[in-house]
């Protein structure tokens, strides 16, 4: 297991039996505005879970709860609990750095550091104490391979990351994230700035990554949610209206509001 586990080691049997992430009666307030309402959800391990819903429904807020990114927003308050590997991440003594290392995030716009390809991927391992060049080189190669970038970039590791096309930048951001050995990848509209071909390639990459990682993806693109996920949740006005197997949600949703949304009747 990675260094992430040593920061907050769960018992082995707990990891097998418990969901990767669990929210219980979770409400989140931005000041007096209640952005999440009593959300209960269990994110299964090593599957792709998608959150869909119209703008402002709370899906990105819920995603950011999972690694406490909302802490950065002034006036945020939560009720209920959020468990990662069975442990409450909002408990007073929770280690935020360890949490964000274990539960990493990829954003809508690729945001590589304005340094070289190599340095982007080596950055995480280096600040977490990986010192030798040989180790860093190995880490860079492994994580560029994991996102399908190695063959394209192995001879251009010193070029500025910002000179890459958008899809490669997004893959690089994923490589950078994988280099700190997370368990969970949170993705907030990771393909929304990419063209359809690049999107399809990233989706195929997700299928590869789910063998080793738990992935939660927020997307406006319902078709993408349907294609890539095995679990899906529909959110509306802060409620998690429906959550379950993607096949069921897209062929026979239980809630009329889900049906209306996925058939394009509103949203």
């Amino acid at each position: 297991m990675s260094q992430a586990a040593s920061a907050d080691p769960p018992a082995a049997d707990v990891r097998v039996q418990t969901p990767a992430i669990e929210a219980r009666s979770l409400s989140l307030f931005y000041g007096s505005f209640r952005a999440l309402k009593d959300v209960d959800v269990a994110v299964p391990r090593r599957e792709i879970t998608a959150l869909i819903g119209p703008s402002g429904c709370g899906k990105s807020t819920l995603l950011r709860v999972f690694n406490r990114m909302n802490d950065l927003v002034r006036g945020v308050r939560i009720e209920g609990s959020v468990l990662v590997d069975g442990r409450d991440i909002y408990r007073p003594d929770a280690d935020l750095i360890a949490l964000r290392k274990r539960v990493g995030m990829v954003f809508q716009r690729p945001n590589p550091f304005p340094i070289s390809v190599f340095q982007n991927v080596a950055y995480g391992p280096a600040i977490h104490g990986m010192a030798s060049n040989a180790e860093l080189e190995e880490a860079v190669e492994r994580n560029l391979r994991a996102t399908g970038l190695w063959d394209d970039l192995k001879d251009r590791l010193r070029v500025p990351a910002l000179s890459l096309p958008p899809e490669q930048q997004q893959r690089l951001c994923l490589s950078r994230l994988l280099a700190v050995e997370p368990d969970v990848l949170l993705m907030d509209e990771p393909c929304s700035t990419l063209d359809p071909i690049a999107t399809a390639r990233i989706e195929e990459l997700l299928f590869e990554l789910k063998k080793n990682y738990t992935i939660v993806i927020v997307t406006h693109n319902m078709q993408q949610a349907a294609r890539v996920s095995s679990r899906a949740g529909f959110m509306l006005l802060g409620d998690l209206v429906e959550f379950g197997a993607t096949e069921g949600l897209f062929t026979n949703p239980r809630d009329q509001r889900t049906q209306d949304y996925i058939t394009g009747r509103f949203g």
Binding site: A200, R201, E203, E204, F207, Q223, A226, R227, V228, T246, E247, F250, T251
Partner: protein, 225 residues
């Protein structure tokens, strides 16, 4: 890049091939029971029918989910629509084989006709070959093979008409043969229907590959082009 959808499509094709193989075996066993006057092969027909029915539901479910989850277009969409229709045809071929087995079971309790089974075994061989080739055409996207299946349907129709004619004559000349001859007429009809279903499969293959619907018209006519 191999798409996730293509893997799912390959699995779909594989299930249809399994179903087709079972349907072919059901025809073979039903006709074997009839020809050799044995009950054991007839029982296997019923056993295989349960599996075919289960696959029928499974394939429909796969098609439904592929459409709902992948929103297929163009060749992907045509493949999944074709698979759904082929699925129905294979299930009905299975039903026809069961009908043959049931009629055969009744005939086993009676002495054979003097003319035995006429050309029915030949009809069965022709129908089985049409079924097999239609599925090979489906998997290989082989339009020429699909066309050859369609062309063979006339021969099956002709054999059925001849069998009907001969069996009518037998009944007219000896009323004691009526029940047995009627049984054989029904079986000839079942075999001819199997060939029709194989023809439907072949037509679906042509639609899948070329995007051209050739049903209910001559393929070369202006409407068909």
């Amino acid at each position: 890049m191999r798409r996730h959808l293509e893997t799912a499509e390959d699995e779909l094709k594989e299930r249809l091939l399994v179903m087709g193989g079972l349907a072919e075996e059901m025809i073979r066993a039903a006709v074997e029971g009839l020809r050799d006057r044995k009950e054991a092969p007839l029982r296997t027909v019923h056993e295989n029918e349960e599996t075919v029915n289960r696959l029928h539901i499974e394939v429909d479910d796969r098609c439904l989910k592929l459409i709902a989850l992948h929103q297929p277009t163009a060749a992907d969409l045509r493949l999944i629509l074709a698979a759904s229709k082929i699925n129905s045809d294979l299930e009905r071929i299975g039903d026809q084989a069961v009908n043959i087995a049931e009629n055969a079971a009744v005939l086993l309790g009676q002495p054979p006709l003097e003319r035995k089974l006429l050309d029915l075994p030949r009809m069965a061989d022709l129908a089985k070959a049409m079924l097999k080739d239609s599925l090979v055409a489906f998997v290989r996207k082989d339009v020429e093979l699909a066309r050859s299946v369609i062309a063979r349907d006339d021969a099956e129709d002709r054999l059925k008409s001849e069998a009907f004619h001969e069996l009518m004559q037998i009944m007219q000349s000896d009323a004691s043969t009526i029940q047995r001859a009627l049984g054989l007429i029904l079986i000839a009809r079942n075999l001819e229907r199997i060939a029709d279903h194989a023809t439907n499969v072949a037509e679906d293959v042509i639609f899948m590959v070329l995007g051209r619907d050739i049903r209910h018209r001559a393929e070369g006519s202006p409407q068909g082009s």
